[in-house]
Point group: C2
Chain length 596, copies 2
Amino acid sequence: MYQDMETSKRTHTCGILRGNNVGEKVVLVGWVHRRRDLGGLIFINLRDRTGMIQVVFDKEVCEEAFEIASTVRNEYVVSVEGEVTLREEGQINHGIATGEIEIKGEKIEILDSAHTPPIYIEDDDKVSEDIRLKYRYLDLRKPKMQQNLIVRHKITKVIRDYLDQRGFIEIETPVLTKPTPEGARDYLVPSRVQKGKWFALPQSPQLFKQILMVSGMDRYFQIVKCFRDEDLRADRQPEFTQIDMELSFVNQEDIIKINEGLIREVFKKIIGYDISSSIPRMTYQEAMERFGSDKPDIRFGLELKDLTEIVKNSEFKVFSNAVREGGQVRAINAKGCGKRFSRKEIDSLGEFVKLYKAKGLAWINVTENSVKSPIVKFLKNQELQDILSTMEAEIGDLILIVADQNEKIVYNTLGQLRLELSRKLKLTKNDSFAFLWITEFPLLEYSEEEGRYVATHHPFTSPMDEDISLLEDHPEKVRAKAYDLVVNGVELGGGSIRIHNRDLQEKMFKALGFSKKQAWEQFGFLLEAFQYGTPPHGGIAFGLDRLTMLLTQTDNIKDVIAFPKTQNHSCLMTNAPAIAENQQLEELGIRIIKER
Amino acid sequence: MYQDMETSKRTHTCGILRGNNVGEKVVLVGWVHRRRDLGGLIFINLRDRTGMIQVVFDKEVCEEAFEIASTVRNEYVVSVEGEVTLREEGQINHGIATGEIEIKGEKIEILDSAHTPPIYIEDDDKVSEDIRLKYRYLDLRKPKMQQNLIVRHKITKVIRDYLDQRGFIEIETPVLTKPTPEGARDYLVPSRVQKGKWFALPQSPQLFKQILMVSGMDRYFQIVKCFRDEDLRADRQPEFTQIDMELSFVNQEDIIKINEGLIREVFKKIIGYDISSSIPRMTYQEAMERFGSDKPDIRFGLELKDLTEIVKNSEFKVFSNAVREGGQVRAINAKGCGKRFSRKEIDSLGEFVKLYKAKGLAWINVTENSVKSPIVKFLKNQELQDILSTMEAEIGDLILIVADQNEKIVYNTLGQLRLELSRKLKLTKNDSFAFLWITEFPLLEYSEEEGRYVATHHPFTSPMDEDISLLEDHPEKVRAKAYDLVVNGVELGGGSIRIHNRDLQEKMFKALGFSKKQAWEQFGFLLEAFQYGTPPHGGIAFGLDRLTMLLTQTDNIKDVIAFPKTQNHSCLMTNAPAIAENQQLEELGIRIIKER
């Protein structure tokens, strides 16, 4: 991939020379990674984006070059001229790709000097994140960081090649758009021409890509920045990049097929990983029941089991009351953990579940002679036996039970507990990938806050054909033509088939509690477009940041972005907001309210 | 390029079927472009992005399909099933690519109905731009508009392929950045976390790409949205897309070589146009003297000539006074226009030059017997003869002369007059391309407004080595390592080699009248980065919008963008700013000033 990087200032890059270049005169440029003086010899490790090579200056051979070389320090930018030679047997460095050879330096020119860098240009440099971000330009010199950005670039290249070959057109959608009434918080941009009005930065190109389908563009994609004015998290940036697509004349199968191909191509070309068989599918319902999550990590078991029927009349009121109030009792068998975990560790799991609003964690430790458990005295023998049999309990196991009147809390708590156990037990490896399509998401969910049903995905997601008749009377039972791609418990992307029939769209708005007038006020532009012949269409969007993290085995989103936003804006000046000039604000018709 | 567009709903797209498909059963989907009823036959022209095909329903063969077909109207979305057949000899339509064949329709399904569209889906539809933009989703169904977006996509694909092969890494730079003190007006975005402070949308990724060079990324590119809060023009959008690159360890020759290759590849692959020989170069000085412009259209002559010496002592005071005050007198020979233009047309040129601040236009009409001219009576015979000889005047020519104390006005007026003449005389063709590199731009220009020199390009542009010594005493004479690529009088792109040496950078800031403190206040982040080993680097940026206009032979920038901004925001609702919710403004610490 490094063809044609020759310029007037270099014949080769540092990392590509090998034994077959021996005897060639080369001119290399790069950064001085390290200088070592050994009597009459100076060794310089010269580094560029492609790798590192050793250059030797011999005082007896080239005194002038030797003298200059003796003045260079770490991170100086230099140009060296010399001959590629084989190293002697004992000097071969198997740690670097060019370790078999070195350059006999004949000339050296200092292109730029450097202050002593405040961080080491080494992958395992242990400096704090704040310092790394302050000196981002140095942090980005680390091979791993450069590799991350290169992989990010390669991912987008593979995706563009793949989609271009299949008739997708990359079309740019606006960044300055109209604020949307629903969704997360928009970034706002005051309009100078229409004072008092605001543009918004898009949270996604959803409306635009659907309009492109109405326009007959047939297959659209875009790798595009999206924006949400939310607080920062380790895995979230306020500006993030989506791989976004929309297709006409397709059903869910078509979209899944094309995107399985896409993901297969990316994993093969970027890291040589074969996703050989077809990616398994699981309905939302099954995912919740078995894994307590709509993005389950299926690399390990620890599946949830339903104990509701067994304990519904139990004298242990925590269980029976939860059931009586419409709730559930479910459990995980933490295989072998009864033996493995101390009482203190079990108690800490009890604390853990409280993070997810569970009222407590009941447990049963299956020992050789009997069971140990704070709740066993409340259970009838038959109940205990049924629990142990349902959980397929063996000696040494630990049964972890959650009961709640709110089934979401039961699912979510056990889902999180599953992940916590896998971390404790180190059940997963970073270099294996368990892909999964989750399908048949609920179309609507009831919002207590708004006192109405809201769209799980968005109001243009199509219900499943066989559930349309339920829309009026049992909206909560309607499943959507929506699908997520999950890998190792991370949602990589998701999408849906959209409604393109006006009657159905009206039914959907009705189910959402919108009057026709409200629907038009909020989504009039799209509804108007839908009047002039709309093809059946659907799409999907993937997070480029997450995909890059996955393929570079990186945990921190900041490590796959060149210039991330940080909690403390001032540590990365180029990203910092600043005081605007008063004159400019006046032109915009805006005043800053002084903080009280 | 349309491989694999088959889905569960179609076997082929409309535009790809040919004679060799005869006998195949196909399922096609698309929009009803036109329906014609001919006795017991219904002809439907079915249209999708790939083209158009005729489908025939015969009442006697398939009555049910015929009945449904008889109800469809323009822009209905339908699915048809049938057999590909050859048309009879007399029925072949040479106007469309599928004109040799037609589909014998056996089934038809209406996927969506359509209201009567308010504009025709024809390239030559003559409706007003406002209506076109209001119904953008219909306007984008026109083949020419779809083709423009497809070409735009292809251009970016070719560029990405080319740069990827040469070691360029596409790296995303932030959209929410810090406001810059110089340059055009920024779009501002209030920060919710740091109330009273503002992000800005970037006018270019200049600072970031230079930092990436400091980071050792070596070769960066990006196809990226940039923003300027300026008023709209026919060739300008407030959000526009740049093809942006920066390279380390290069000089001007390297950058020109790589980019000539890039442009050659784009023109070859997109429109099959060969830029065979190497692109000519011209210094800024020569371009101004010969063409009165730093982006000359060299497809035609009408070059400027200098008459200053000839008329410096003329009794025609308009000339001699201009020269005495340090100005110039220059002229164009409008070949044959003396004969061709009426007096009224010549007078209208006199009005034209006033648009460019010229005080007037002197002219000499070279007739068979003598010359006609309002100024000839003020000229000595020798002066007239010298003028005619310098202008290589022949019978029928029209000499157009501009004098002004400000040489910029002389150059610009004659440069514009040249273009006006070429339009009047129809001297250029749209499908020929005259490329030109303009080099040796002035580094600085004096700003009367600011009372100091300002950077022509930006403060990080490198002076030419041989002019560095002039920086202190004759800053106006210093030429920059800057270059523009011009084609047919349009600036396609421009860039420069940057300063990477701190001493030189300090000299540059001094020439700009900055104190060291001011320089650090304004550009501290970059200057700080420059302390840690900066490679020699430079770059260039091209306008994707203009490149697409050129390659699609489109005059209006709105025709190469899917969702352009318009003067009247309300005619394209998705781009309109809107009133923000008060609660959101309060969170931002912002109040709208009521208009007085």
